[in-house]
């Protein structure tokens, strides 16, 4: 399964837009790009998923260029409660199950 690469940590301030970029040079045709958020002492929580172009939901946007070798999670106007670890994953469909590989994620620290 293809691997993803993302920054280990990022800092931001309340009210700013935060963009976390993930590299996945060996993405396969059947792979979807999925982002999870994890707070301390909790399990990861699904944020957003996309295949190409742009996807937006109530909490984030996901930008995927045409070659799909990278993707950017955009969090608008972050608050202190957005401090968490964010994981970028490739999710492959077509088999009996949607097996995931988690990397070490990006620790986003939002300061007042």
């Amino acid at each position: 399964l293809a691997k993803t690469t993302q920054p280990i940590s990022m800092d931001s301030y309340e009210g700013q837009e935060v963009n976390i970029t993930c590299s996945h040079n060996n993405i396969a045709t059947n792979d979807y790009i999925t982002w999870y958020q994890q707070f301390p002492s909790q399990g990861p929580r699904f944020i957003i998923q996309g295949y190409k172009t742009k996807v937006t939901n109530e909490v984030a946007s996901l930008f995927i260029p045409a070659d799909r070798k990278s993707s950017t999670l955009s969090l608008p106007r972050v608050s202190l409660s957005d401090t968490a670890v964010y994981y970028c994953l490739l999710q492959t469909y077509g088999g009996a199950t949607n097996k995931l590989i988690f990397g070490t994620g990006t620790l986003l620290a939002v300061q007042p």
Partner: protein
């Protein structure tokens, strides 16, 4: 709302003990997963199951086994606990891709297991 419940938040066991971690989901999901999470290593898949009585090894199955006798319950078993199995264990579930594509995994809040 999907709920994945792990039986214990904290567990302390001794080396050599047989340890059972239980996970229950209430959304009729076909797929269930067990991960462990360690600092600097992220989440690593131990085992997963895509149907009752069906299981497949993940990336680090050594020292573990699983049981899925009912659709809603997936158990992780440490046959003879060792100190290097001290970790956070996370259970997850999801719909089968055959039923609906683009299905995320839903996680429990984890069991922090310490082996002394």
């Amino acid at each position: 709302d999907v709920k994945v419940t792990q039986s214990s938040r904290y567990l302390v066991k001794r080396t050599g003990e047989k340890v059972f971690l239980e996970c229950v989901q209430d959304m009729d999901h076909e797929n269930m997963f067990w991960y462990r999470q360690d600092p600097g290593l992220g989440l690593r898949l131990i085992y997963f199951s895509y149907d009752v009585k069906m299981k497949e090894k993940g990336d680090i199955p050594e020292g573990y086994s699983v049981s899925r006798e009912k659709k809603e319950r997936f158990s992780l078993i440490l046959e003879s606990a060792s100190t290097n199995q001290t970790s956070m264990y996370l259970c997850a579930s999801s719909l089968s891709p055959q039923r609906q594509s683009n299905q995320p995994q839903h996680f429990g809040d984890g069991t922090r297991l310490s082996i002394l």
